[in-house]
């Protein structure tokens, strides 16, 4: 929380103004009941004895005070909205810029939804707490203290009434946090389960119907529904008390004030020797009632505020944990720039594991000279992407060395190292933007002609021209319907723009029709020309023509060699290869 408050430090003027406005508007508002009480006292004389000059004076004062207070309150709200948004902007920006420096492993191990909820929901919660609750707390304190002071000045004996009602509301608040809040939490959990079930079944509605499982599904839904409405009822059963109880405590204190205030007023009127401390006027009773309302409000809200602070603290922790996540190891100070490599890649006795206890590469060595093709094959989930992760330095190896043009990659700046690669992955990554922007993504200085040439080479130019907006067509989830294969071609076009000497390619093209498949294949072949290529291979032709085949299983390279060598060896590769013809 302290660290959060640090963000306020950058806006000293705004914070001071806010404090001033808050104090001002609350104190002015607090004066209201006192003055209206005085006005009533001026009226209280009764028929023909109303002190009109005083009444007019007080009424004028009231109008001015209330107006000023309202204006200040409005300015305060506006100021806080703006201040809050400034902080939220800074915080979001910091979180995002930090995200960009994080290593790929962070994204591999944290679900996207989690990251999103930190950058949106958690920061929002934090901001609310900072700009709203904090202020509320300060305002409440001012109100409580001020009201108490005013009541103290009106009548000390009447204050004793709060010796009854304040403990009562504190007791009630504790009951609420202890017994009622958990019930409301349980209610949300049950509702979440119900919604989860509904969403799940809805997504599989066809399957449910295909297996005639409607009745079973509905009865399971009913069980969860019953649990959800049951939890709701249980929470509401207690929750039903909250509003009325707050009102009850309010009303009882008003009743007591009226009762004892009436008695004191009577004594003031009738007993001449009454101690001054017991004296009260009619207007005094009126003001006291109003102050008691002001006094009770924040006390009732205290529990809510506390729980909001708690959730804000939890949110702050989540946000700051992300901000404290270590960035990618920075480039070595003596790191050199290698703008354009020949494309010789060497693995020297490399050992690597995603977790320290489980190595996936053991003393692996491999030498690839410029222009050669390395095919990586193996079953799904066998760890074929590991080699790519290491080449691009998405992950750093624990032992050995990887060299590009004979130089250890850790001695090269990441930016120039990565510029030597061009990449086409299986999960095509396109973002919300025009087709032109998506293809030109890699480069800052490309012209329309360059992009069109790349698109032509990727066999996607004609398709783009067939779209109404052509290269300016916005790619979005709900916009133009382009197929998986076309998306892949666009990413290939993006890769075509690069003249990097090394290519990383994932050949997998599932769910693509055969014509598009042919285009993709041709485009990929064009990409591989004149480049050192690391290919996650799915096609026989690629494998047969590769200079080296790496067979990966369960995360480790288990076989290596050319197609003929591996067949002759009669190992896993040979079995895989033959199984298709049995």
């Amino acid at each position: 929380m302290l660290r959060m408050a640090g963000y306020l430090k950058h806006y000293p003027v705004a914070v001071c103004t806010a404090l001033f406005l808050m104090l001002g508007s609350n104190i002015l508002a607090l004066a209201g009941p006192k003055i209206s009480g005085l006005a009533i006292d001026a009226i209280a004389g009764g028929r023909g004895r109303v002190d009109f000059p005083a009444v007019r004076r007080y009424v004028l004062m009231l109008v001015v005070f209330y107006l000023l207070s309202a204006v200040m309150a409005y300015l305060l709200s506006v100021l806080m909205v703006r201040l809050g948004q400034k902080i939220i902007y800074t915080l979001r920006r910091q979180v995002f810029e930090h995200l960009m420096t994080l290593p790929v492993s962070y994204f591999d191990s944290h679900p996207t939804g989690d990251i999103i909820s930190r950058i949106s929901y958690d920061i929002d919660t934090l901001n609310t707490s900072l700009s709203h609750d904090l202020l509320q707390l300060a305002a409440s304190t001012v109100t409580v203290v001020g009201a108490l002071f005013m009541m103290f000045s009106i009548s000390r004996p009447l204050l004793l009434i709060f010796a009854v009602t304040v403990p009562a509301s504190i007791l009630f608040t504790r009951f609420k946090t202890k017994h009622i809040h958990p019930l409301f939490r349980a209610r949300s959990v049950k509702l979440g389960e119900l919604n989860g079930y509904a969403e799940e079944m809805l997504s599989g509605q066809k399957t449910v119907r295909a297996y005639s499982a409607e009745d079973v599904t509905i009865s399971r839904f009913d069980t969860r529904n019953e649990a959800a409405v049951g939890a709701y009822y249980k929470a509401e059963w207690y929750g039903a008390m909250i509003g009325p109880a707050v009102n009850l405590i309010n009303n009882i204190s008003i009743a007591l004030i009226t009762l004892f205030g009436g008695v004191l007023f009577l004594l003031t009127q009738t007993k001449a020797d009454l101690l001054p401390i017991f004296m009260i006027t009619l207007g005094g009773v009126s003001s006291f009632v109003q102050y008691s309302r002001k006094f009770a409000g924040p006390i009732n809200e205290l529990a809510n505020m506390m729980s909001e602070f708690q959730s804000a603290l939890a949110a702050a922790e989540r946000v700051f944990r992300l901000l404290d996540e270590p960035s990618e190891v920075p480039d070595r100070e003596d790191a050199v720039k290698l703008p354009r490599a020949r494309g010789d890649v060497r693995f020297e006795d490399v050992t690597f594991g995603y977790t320290p206890d489980k190595t996936v590469l053991h003393h692996f060595s491999l030498s690839v000279t410029s222009g050669q093709t390395v095919a990586i094959v193996g079953p799904t989930g066998a760890g074929k992407t590991t080699v790519i992760n290491l080449l691009m330095r998405f992950y750093d190896i624990s032992e050995g060395a990887i060299c590009l043009d004979g130089r250890d990659v850790r001695e090269i700046t990441r930016e120039t190292l990565r510029k030597n690669y061009t990449m086409v992955l299986q999960d095509t990554w396109l973002f919300y933007g025009t087709i032109f922007e998506n293809i030109a993504y890699g480069r800052e200085d490309v012209t329309r002609e360059d992009v069109e040439r790349a698109a032509r080479a990727a066999y996607i130019h004609d398709f783009i021209l067939s779209l109404p907006q052509r290269y300016d067509t916005i790619l979005s989830d709900d916009g133009v319907n382009i197929s998986k294969g076309q998306k892949q071609l666009i990413t290939i076009a993006r890769a075509m723009l690069s003249d990097a000497p090394i290519l990383i390619l994932d050949e997998a093209t599932s769910n693509v029709d055969s014509r598009t498949e042919q285009k993709i294949q041709a485009a990929m072949h064009a990409l591989m020309r004149h480049r050192t290529a690391f290919v996650i291979a799915h096609r026989l032709s690629t494998v047969q023509n590769a200079d080296v085949i790496l067979v990966v299983q369960k995360g480790s390279v288990i076989e290596r060699g050319t197609h003929e060598e591996l067949l002759a060896a009669g190992g896993f590769y040979a079995t895989l290869y033959r199984s298709q013809f049995t």
């Binding site: 209330y66 996207t112 509702l191 529904n225 709701y232 009822y233 009436g262 007023f265 009619l282 895989l576």
Partner: protein
């Protein structure tokens, strides 16, 4: 609101009971300031100490009465809301489960989801709220006006004049603020989209060293969001101070006018104090009423959306099961079938073929060629537009839905796995013995990995089966399809995630252990090349039919596909 009336009418008694107590409790609350002014104006001047205590005691009693009345009424309200929303949710879910595929397409799955979740929640909330404060607020308002008129009609008129001003200004500000908030919501989506895209594409971004570009892209989204939220926040910031100001100015007016009235002995100071109390009560009810209006319009929309689904379902007509046994050797026959999803063009047209019992049918073609559509038509998820489809020699319209579906064991494209145990996922709500579950798993080549789980068939799967590999998922789904001893085994691109060894073993066991008629839809030649009959689909038409060798010879497209795959993705 017809929907609400329908679901609330069985609960009439409880509703009536709740409203009555609520009204009583509100009256008691309204009495409090009245007693207050009575004490100050009449009892105190009379100097009767005992009477002060009596009336003070009455105030406390009234406060307690209001408390118990409100609590009882609120609990009653919670019960009514529970019963009503349980029924609404049940009926809505029942309806969604029975919707035909065309109806689901029309309503869309995300929309159905939000109807089941947020719309029912809104209604639940609304039913509770309207009983709790929907009665209290108008009661306090109307009762308050009545009592103040009774106390002093002249001062009451002043009050009455300020109330609409408060109401109108709140309404106006909210009306302007809400669209701004909606706009801000859209901007949140824009900001989140950038984060989502970048988390997914972090490798590409880093590979191309485009971090700076992404920062700028995010910054633009962030700035837009901040601008929109500021605008909405600043607009709404006016509400509280303005309301407070009007309320307080009204009070000042009452005091000012009161001074003249008291001076002419037309009113009493205690009444002014009571007025101040009523005024606070009434203006807070106005704020509550505005909230009810906002909620009401939202709930009305929710109710309408729920009702839409229910009425679609109520229009259904179910054909009864026939109980007819299978006849003839032809298991499945299409006679000149055409079908269109939309109005414009046919997805499949003039499809005719017949398949003998126990044989295997392969369907191959490009995405969008209509392969899956043929399956959906055969299972009557959609009705054919023209032509006739026969299963076991009888037109499919002849069977009841459950009866027809029982004949099929289906694995659909990206089929779904529930967050439940392995056994339950295979059983899928049907009554299937433990033994049969195991046998199906063994046939589907899934037994090995299932039994490797420490808790075997009781192993819990996560939703969508994310804790299984693609191949494991598909084998599980195939086990599900096999467990019901179907007459037809339908695999819609179901073996694409299987490696060749498993795929081959699966084919063998299905052929040997089952005498089911099998239909395989695939994009890989290798998945269909062993079929007894292969249909090659292109843009909804059959352009080739026969065995693998025949097609290689006389179907150009088939040959092209086969060659381009060159034995296909052998190594995945």
């Amino acid at each position: 609101m017809k929907l609400l009336v329908h679901y609330l009418s069985p609960l009439k008694k409880a509703l009536f009971w709740g409203f009555s107590i609520k009204i009583l409790a509100s009256v008691l609350e309204l009495l409090l300031p009245y007693i207050l002014s009575y004490i100050l104006d009449s009892v105190v001047p009379a100097g009767e100490m005992k009477m002060i205590f009596f009336w003070g005691g009455m105030m406390i009693l009234a406060a307690l009465g209001a408390y118990f009345g409100n609590v009882a009424a609120n609990r009653n309200a919670a019960r009514v809301a529970r019963d009503a929303s349980r029924a609404i949710r049940h009926d809505l879910f029942e309806a969604t489960m029975h919707l035909s595929s065309r109806e689901v397409d029309g309503l869309t799955v995300p929309s159905l989801e939000s109807r089941l979740t947020s719309d029912t929640y809104h209604l639940h909330h609304f039913i509770g709220m309207i009983q709790r404060i929907g009665v209290r607020a108008p009661m306090l308002l109307i009762g308050g006006i009545a009592i103040t008129f009774f106390l002093d009609a002249r001062l009451a008129l002043i009050l009455l004049a300020t109330l609409p001003v408060i109401g109108v200004s709140i309404f106006f500000i909210t009306g302007r603020g809400l669209p701004l908030y909606q706009k801000a919501h859209a901007s949140v989506d824009g900001m989140v989209r950038v984060v989502r895209e970048d988390c997914g594409g972090v490798r590409v971004i880093k590979a191309l060293s485009r971090e700076q570009y992404e920062k700028e892209r995010y910054d633009a989204a962030n700035r837009k969001l901040v601008a929109d939220e500021t605008r909405a926040g600043v607009t709404m910031a006016l509400t509280q101070p303005l309301m407070g100001l009007f309320l307080n100015l009204g009070l000042v007016l009452v005091i000012f006018a009161g001074a003249y009235l008291v001076d002419r002995d037309l009113s009493k100071p205690g009444k002014i104090i009571a007025f101040i109390q009523y005024f606070t009560l009434m203006s807070s009810s106005i704020a509550v009423l505005t909230r009810i209006f906002v909620d009401y319009s939202r709930s009305l929309a929710s109710a309408r959306r729920i009702d839409e689904v229910l009425s679609v379902y109520h229009a259904h007509k179910e054909s009864p099961d026939t109980g007819d046994a299978a006849t003839g050797e032809i298991a499945l026959e299409f006679r000149d079938v055409s079908f269109a999803y939309g109005e414009k063009y046919d997805t499949v047209s003039h499809i005719s073929f017949s398949l003998e019992r126990g044989k295997t049918l392969g369907i191959i073609g490009a995405t969008g060629a209509g392969k899956s559509t043929l399956l959906r038509l055969a299972m009557r998820f959609y009705e054919a537009k023209d032509g006739e489809i026969l299963v076991d020699g009888l037109p499919i319209a002849h069977y009841g839905e459950a009866e027809l579906h029982k004949k099929f064991g289906v694995v659909m494209q990206s089929d779904f796995i529930a967050a439940d145990t392995v056994a339950e996922n295979i059983r899928f709500g049907r009554e299937i013995s433990e033994e049969k579950v195991r046998r199906a798993a063994a046939l589907a080549q899934a037994a090995e990995y299932i039994e490797a789980f420490p808790d075997g068939y009781e192993h819990m799967l996560s939703a969508k089966g994310t804790n299984l590999s693609g191949g494991q998922r598909q084998r599980l789904l195939i086990a599900r399809a096999l467990a019901g001893d179907p007459e037809f085994l339908v695999l819609d691109d179901a073996s694409s995630a299987l490696d060749y060894k498993t795929d081959a073993a699966l084919r063998r066991t299905v052929r040997e252990a089952l005498c089911a008629t099998t239909i395989v839809v695939a994009q890989r030649v290798s998945s269909v090349m062993y079929a007894d009959l292969i249909l090659v689909l292109d843009r909804g038409r059959i352009i080739g039919a026969g065995k693998h060798d025949e097609l290689l010879e006389n179907c150009a497209l088939y040959r092209e596909i086969s060659e381009s795959q060159m034995g296909g993705a052998i190594l995945e």
